[in-house]
Amino acid sequence: MNRILMILILIVSFVPQAIAVQPDEVLDDPALEERARDISAGLRCLVCQNQSIDDSDADLARDLRIVVRERLVAGDSDEEVLDYVVDRYGEFVLLKPTFSGHNLVLWIAAPLVFVIGLVMVFSVSMRQRKLSTAAGMTPEEEQMLAALAESENDHADKDQASRKPTD
């Protein structure tokens, strides 16, 4: 089945382009049409590179757009339409993978990294604060810092002074 699909992909992707949604596909009911567009934007064109069927001009995408609209006209809810399409073409058609099973890693990775990062930031800052109460800056370090700040200020002043004549 997969191989046939691949061959189909190869053939169809070289068919000359028309543009995506055609006037004859558009539903009369604007509310229904809008739902159709929203659903289409989340379905992958199986023969394209990372394009939704809503954007694609491939024939297969057109067929799928028509299927989506037929189901909507028949009274399906959005979920029912998606289930119908997934039943026939597999999860591969969903541009937003489901939040389940082998996709959990995909969904959880970023939040997990965020939490780990947050914990690390906190633990490092706690540790540093403990260290700093134990040993503050030495007088020499304080002096050095002050001198650095001063020299930076001098620098800024000179910056302004040197700019003046050109004003």
Partner: protein, 660 residues
């Protein structure tokens, strides 16, 4: 012509020279001596000269349509306009790799010349690392992707460049993008040098920051240009597709942005050293990953010209070597680094840590979304798609808190700050952006959506950024002439921070507007027909067949006008390129203020009408204007005298002198 062989020879010479450079650099590290240091510097410059020669030879073959060169035969055509003959050089795998190498050696030479003020030992290590990268990539070019291959018999005509690439965009987008990608190699080399020598201090951050900024500017412009090119060329009006190849360029941009901010903390306060080094390594690793994804053919797209699995394996090996090597070195040496300055949880440092945390997480979201389908397929055979809806959700959710905090950053003092005080100073900006957002959202009300929040975020970032300038110039508090003088006297970094943040806000606002309010009209029109498309009248003037140099075109002309205003003429085309039997669409785009009307034509239908798609794109130009403002702000900060060559040493000497 013999020049092709000369070019080939020059490339091989550069390859050999880079190896020698690495060897001498390693020697000079063990036994520091001026002769070896000087050789390493000169070798860096010479490599660039040699690769430039080699690139010139290749270009000459393309421009003169020398089809005895296999690459020119396969990717160009004698009837192409000269500009496209020129850009065809990198409109293919081998040539674009040579461009990559050219830019790598350009940066190598720039560091060799521009880093003369660095301590000799560090400079030597940086150049040695850079030479090693050059060695690997020239080797990859010569042994797996040789652009100088000849054909035994010279064909009469070339097979033309992919028509989608026959555009001014190809002249601008790849060079800019590569300048950005490859520029981060300098940060990488600095990080490796620092890890090897163990010398990492505020001065290091000061040396690295201009290189980071330079690369970031190029990458920003490169991505923006790519986005605009895709927008006008692909013919369905999208400007960002979360395509794996786009993501590959976006990830180094995100971490590069984080690096700019963390290097700032390191430079001013000596904190975040380890993290900054790690970010420098990660950023270039992501550049390499992008190169791998695009060049290996693992992803097929308009970017990955030809595919050949053996190349993929070699480049994967190089990627693994550099990234793993860098991380092992990091894990080994990082614990020896001493932690730097302290700061409280509410301070400018903390705000910048917050920035880094969100940018890093956003990078992970994009990275996982891009690679997970590949990995899942490779290990389990399960095929899933991860597309725009996933990225919009995850990336979008991460950007909201980040954008909310952006204006606070410049208002928080270093070390210790108070949110209440910063909020008080930002009070005017908060009120003003709320009022603006409410007015705009109410005017364009389309029901309860996230749009008003997006509009608020956009205005907030813009106004918050400008509030910094208002506050510092004491505008409205002192006389206008005094505040004007104060404004002129502000340090350059204040200006550039403010404008970079404002650019970000402009881009956000453009994204929100076009996402929420764009409209699409699909219809069939005859010449002479006029329709009303969401506030614009569109008249189909005529259509005709127009011959081009190496294509034929069906051109439809439309007259577009906002209601009651003067109309603009705009041409929308369908082209056919006979050399490749490939059609393209050239969208007709016309601009009214910040908004655009975008027209694509389709096939003729039986009753002699034509399928026409008309999009209105309110405020879409803000997306790209914002990125240009960001890049200009970055450029302005580069002119700061602090970054001029001798500055770091001077400041340090003054400081030391003062303490004595």
């Amino acid at each position: 012509m013999l020049s092709i062989e000369l070019g080939h020879f020059a490339l091989i010479l550069a390859f050999a020279l880079s190896l020698v450079q690495v060897g001498v650099s390693a020697y000079a590290w063990q036994r520091p001596n001026e002769g070896a240091f000087s050789f390493v510097r000169h070798a860096g410059v010479m490599q660039f000269v040699l690769v430039l020669l080699s690139f010139a030879a290749l270009t000459f073959a393309f421009v003169t349509s020398d089809f005895s060169l296999k690459l020119a035969y396969e990717h160009s055509h004698s009837l192409q306009p000269t500009l496209y003959k020129f850009t065809s050089v990198w409109g293919n795998h081998e040539g674009s790799l040579l461009l990559w190498v050219l830019i790598l050696t350009l940066f190598g030479a720039a560091v060799a010349v521009g880093g003369a003020n660095l301590p000799k030992a560090s400079h030597n290590l940086v150049l040695g690392t850079q030479g090693f990268l050059t060695f690997a990539f020239i080797g990859f070019t010569i042994f797996t992707s040789n652009p100088f291959e000849r054909l035994p018999e010279m064909p009469l005509e070339g097979r033309d460049l992919n028509p989608i690439l026959q555009d001014i965009g190809l002249a601008i987008h790849p060079p800019l993008l590569y300048l950005g990608y490859v520029g981060f190699s300098v940060c990488f080399s600095f990080a490796i040098a620092a890890l090897i020598s163990g010398k990492i201090d505020a001065a290091w951050a000061r040396w690295v920051r201009p290189w980071t900024m330079l690369s970031w500017i190029f990458l920003t412009l490169g991505i923006a240009m790519g986005s605009y090119w895709a927008y006008y060329e692909l013919g369905w009006g999208g400007w960002w597709f979360w395509d794996p190849v786009e993501n590959a360029s976006f990830m180094p941009w995100l971490t590069g942005t984080a690096l700019l901010h963390s290097a700032l903390v390191m430079e001013k306060r000596g904190a975040l050293k380890i993290w900054t080094i790690l970010l420098a390594i990660i950023t270039f690793s992501l550049s390499l990953l992008g190169t791998f994804l695009v060049r290996s053919g693992i992803l097929t797209s308009v970017h990955s010209f030809a595919t050949d699995p053996s190349r993929g394996l070699v480049i994967l090996g190089m990627l693994t070597f550099f990234i793993c090597g860098a991380f092992i070195l990091f894990a080994w040496r990082a614990p020896t680094l001493k932690a730097g300055g302290l700061f409280s949880p509410i301070s400018r440092e903390a705000a910048l840590v917050f920035n880094n945390l969100f940018l890093a997480t956003a990078t992970i979201a994009v990275l996982v979304g891009t690679l997970y389908p590949l990995v899942l397929d490779a290990f389990t055979g399960i095929k899933i798609s991860v597309g725009a809806p996933f990225f919009d959700l995850t990336f979008g959710a991460l950007m909201v808190p980040l954008l909310l905090v952006v204006p606070f950053g410049p208002f928080l003092p270093w070390k210790r700050a108070s949110i209440a005080q910063a909020s008080k100073r930002l009070f005017g900006a908060i009120v003003l952006s709320l009022i603006l957002a409410i007015i705009v959202a109410a005017y364009l009300w389309e029901g309860f959506t996230l749009t008003p929040l997006g509009i608020l975020l956009g205005f907030w970032v813009i106004i918050g950024a400008l509030a910094d300038l208002v506050e510092r110039s004491k505008l409205f508090k002192v006389s206008p002439s005094v505040s004007l003088r104060r404004l002129a006297g502000l340090p350059k970094n204040v200006w550039s921070t403010s404008f970079a943040h404002m650019g970000l806000g402009l881009t956000v606002l453009g994204v929100v507007f076009v996402t929420a309010f764009e409209t699409e009209t699909i219809t069939t029109m005859q010449p002479g027909d006029q329709i009303e498309a969401h506030g614009y009248s569109v008249r189909f003037v005529n259509e005709q067949n127009v011959p081009g140099p190496n294509f034929t075109s069906e051109t439809a002309t439309f007259a577009v006008a906002p209601v009651g205003k003067r109309e603009n003429l705009v041409a929308s085309e369908k082209r056919n390129y006979p050399a490749r039997q490939m059609p393209t669409t050239e969208a007709g785009i016309t601009t009214f203020g910040l908004s655009q009307v975008y027209i694509s034509i389709g096939d003729r239908v039986e009753d002699n009408g034509r399928v026409v798609r008309i999009w209105t794109k309110p405020w879409i130009l803000l997306i790209w204007i914002g990125t240009v403002v960001m890049a200009l702000a970055g450029t302005y900060s580069l002119t700061d005298r602090k970054y001029r060559i001798a500055a770091p040493n001077l400041v340090r000497k003054q400081a030391l002198g003062a303490t004595k």
